[in-house]
Symmetry: C2
Subunit: 406 residues, 2 copies
């Protein structure tokens, strides 16, 4: 659509300065060292304004200027680079049987990483947040002394009300209406004085965010990131940010009905996409009598030439194709990233040039891609969510946060 | 998703002034007369800044201050109102068998309207643009002498490359890769010196835009507008503007596969939503032997208690329900507006509280609504697209346009 309306609130002088500082910090965070000339070109600001802004960021300790690679003639140009040790965030990904945590510095550098396993059954919210807070303490102990901790991001596979951090439903954990953000903030305060607030996000949304900032969707405006496990979800990034919806529940593509005559889904409908392409569908297609322990075993058998496994994956892939066609027709995206086990189904899709059922015009523009961040898209996305406040208002966020050494 | 990144370019002083002037003009255009105090509250600017901006708009002839309704005590407060005669746009909606044109003033006031019928068969692009240009001349003749003509919007039911105004495919007109914007601009210049450029948009996208600016989606951030005729399309408005996609082809929900065992669709796939809920599906469900002339006849018969027609509509409505459920799960929208013949199917939907297959959390937030602009959503949307440049940069656009009297 051609038309768009201006945002709701008018801009003030302070907004501009904040916006411009944020824009420069965001660029350095996503792309690393950059010359001042490139910052001038990227921002559209004049040289002296960029100079003033870089000086402010440098004084705040977020960036430094270093000699870049020497040019063919004359002295090397100065590069502005983000200081990974200046500000850090904690990122957590809560999976069904393990939780991954990382300490990540400005620029996306992983400064520490930790994993903790738990039993799938009866993993209660109180236990979960206590475990995350303990991991947080271990990770913060690894942080550089001068660092400022500006945020914590937590990924949960579920339907999340983003404004409150309430997990409405996380089927694989068996949670319903759990105020995870509130619980975690409380657990954090037993380890820390005045920790930054936690942001709780959906795993697919966070995966999409990370792939757009520093992965397969980098620099693209319209990117879908699919997660495939027992359930199927979709993170949707449009114009560089998460899709606006009524309550943060968008992207439930796993419950898009593609086969009204198919099997009943736990959600109450019939023939949902995840009943056709989720982990259970793959095991079902391979035949229970084959006795595959998990989806990975089916992929291995198919790769080793086992015909039943191969047939099973080809059959599931036709349903992947139908759903991808629907998403391509609905979103006309630039990139669809296949995460989770869906990445292993890519070779089994019938048409390498895009889903068969997509219209020609939308299909020719959609690239089906593997996640550039491998298994870590979601973890990096939790970090990006935690960096958000800093990237929107670098100096304000710094001034509101407490350096770890203080 | 919680996180978002700042826009690509940094803001300058000029940008702010333009943005603030645009914001005020946009509010007056959409909502009509407003007190200065409300403008202060709406923009977040201080009183004196709003005073300066209103004075600039008033000097440019776009707005005037008039006495508002008297309060309980003291003198009536001044209202700022848009002047419908100051700037005008032309809006055209090209349908299969007729073209509707309108002259619309600032604030959305219809100052003139014209319809022209044409034969469905062999309606060539050259004929179509000539007809639109002739209608334009008749409509501009109705414009107030002091008016400035700032834009022309044209709606076509098809897949449109918005950047170039190229109609990639308009199945019901039988057009493929027709540079409609270029052809129309050329045809316009045989009637006018230096006419403003035409913007060509997809009918559903434009319908969505109008329903958001002044209809059932007013003030809402996440709105879908469905068109139902032979085909089914969807305009998607998120955060007050059209969804960002790769090439302007998004919203092809008519080609969302909902019934893989269903009938072949002209697009090459099988069981597309429009093969189940489009006009042909309704006639097919009612039975060819019933001999209904068109969809309207089926709705009339059902309303008169004819059981076959009633059964047909109930059967088609179950497919409407499945597709709406998919859209609710994917977009988690605030409002879905049912346009075209879909509006008449609303009473036949099984669940008044939302589509049966939608998840509880998304369903409880989605309102299924009728278009507030009736049959004119798309026509008003074409006008909104034509007003876009003015609303983003009122004084700049005025200075680049020519008053009709000059």
């Amino acid at each position: 659509m051609a038309a768009s309306l201006p945002p709701a609130r008018a801009a003030t002088q302070d907004d501009i300065r904040r916006h411009n500082l944020g824009r420069i910090t965001q660029h350095l965070h996503a792309s690393g060292a950059t010359t001042r000339s490139d910052l001038v070109a990227l921002t559209g600001l004049n040289r002296s304004t960029v100079g003033v802004l870089v000086a402010e960021l440098s004084e705040a300790g977020l960036v430094r200027e270093v000699a870049g690679p020497a040019g063919t003639i004359g002295r090397p140009s100065l590069m502005v680079e983000p200081i990974a040790e200046s500000v850090v965030v904690l990122a957590f990904e809560m999976q069904v049987e393990r939780t991954i945590g990382a300490l990540i510095g400005l620029g996306g550098q992983v400064l520490g990483r930790l994993e903790s396993r738990h039993r799938r059954e009866g993993y209660r919210p109180a236990t979960a947040v206590r475990q995350v807070a303990t991991m947080a303490a271990s990770l913060i102990a690894l942080a550089p002394r001068q660092a400022t901790w500006v945020g914590t991001g937590l990924s949960v596979a579920g339907v999340i009300d983003r404004s409150s951090g309430l997990v409405r439903i996380a089927p694989n954990l068996g949670w319903r209406d759990v105020p995870v953000q509130e619980l975690l903030d409380r657990a954090m305060s037993t380890h820390f004085d005045d920790p930054p607030q936690t942001i709780v996000g959906n795993d697919s949304d966070l995966g999409a965010l990370a792939e757009v900032v520093r992965g397969a969707g980098r620099g693209r405006q319209s990117v879908l990131y699919l997660t495939g496990d027992v359930g199927v979800g979709c993170g949707i990034v449009l114009a560089g940010s998460g899709m606006v919806d009524a309550g943060g529940y968008s992207g439930e593509v796993g419950h898009m009905v593609v086969n009204p005559h198919g099997l009943a889904c736990h959600c109450g409908a019939r023939g949902c996409w995840e009943t056709e392409i989720g982990a259970d569908a793959i095991l079902r297609a391979a035949g229970p009598e084959a006795g595959y322990a998990d989806v990975a075993a089916v992929f291995e058998a198919a790769a080793a030439g086992e015909p039943t496994a191969d047939r099973a994956l080809r059959s599931v892939a036709t349903w992947v194709d139908i759903g991808l066609g629907n998403l391509v027709n609905i979103f006309n995206p630039q990139v669809i990233v296949l995460g989770g086990h869906l990445s292993h189904l890519l070779p089994y899709l019938a048409h390498a040039d895009g889903p068969r059922s997509a219209l020609f015009a939308t299909r020719e523009q959609a690239q089906i891609a593997l996640p550039a961040l491998g298994e870590d898209s979601t973890l990096f996305g939790a970090a990006e969510a935690a960096f958000e406040a800093l990237l929107l208002d670098p100096l304000g966020t710094l001034s509101r946060s407490r350096a770890l050494a203080s």
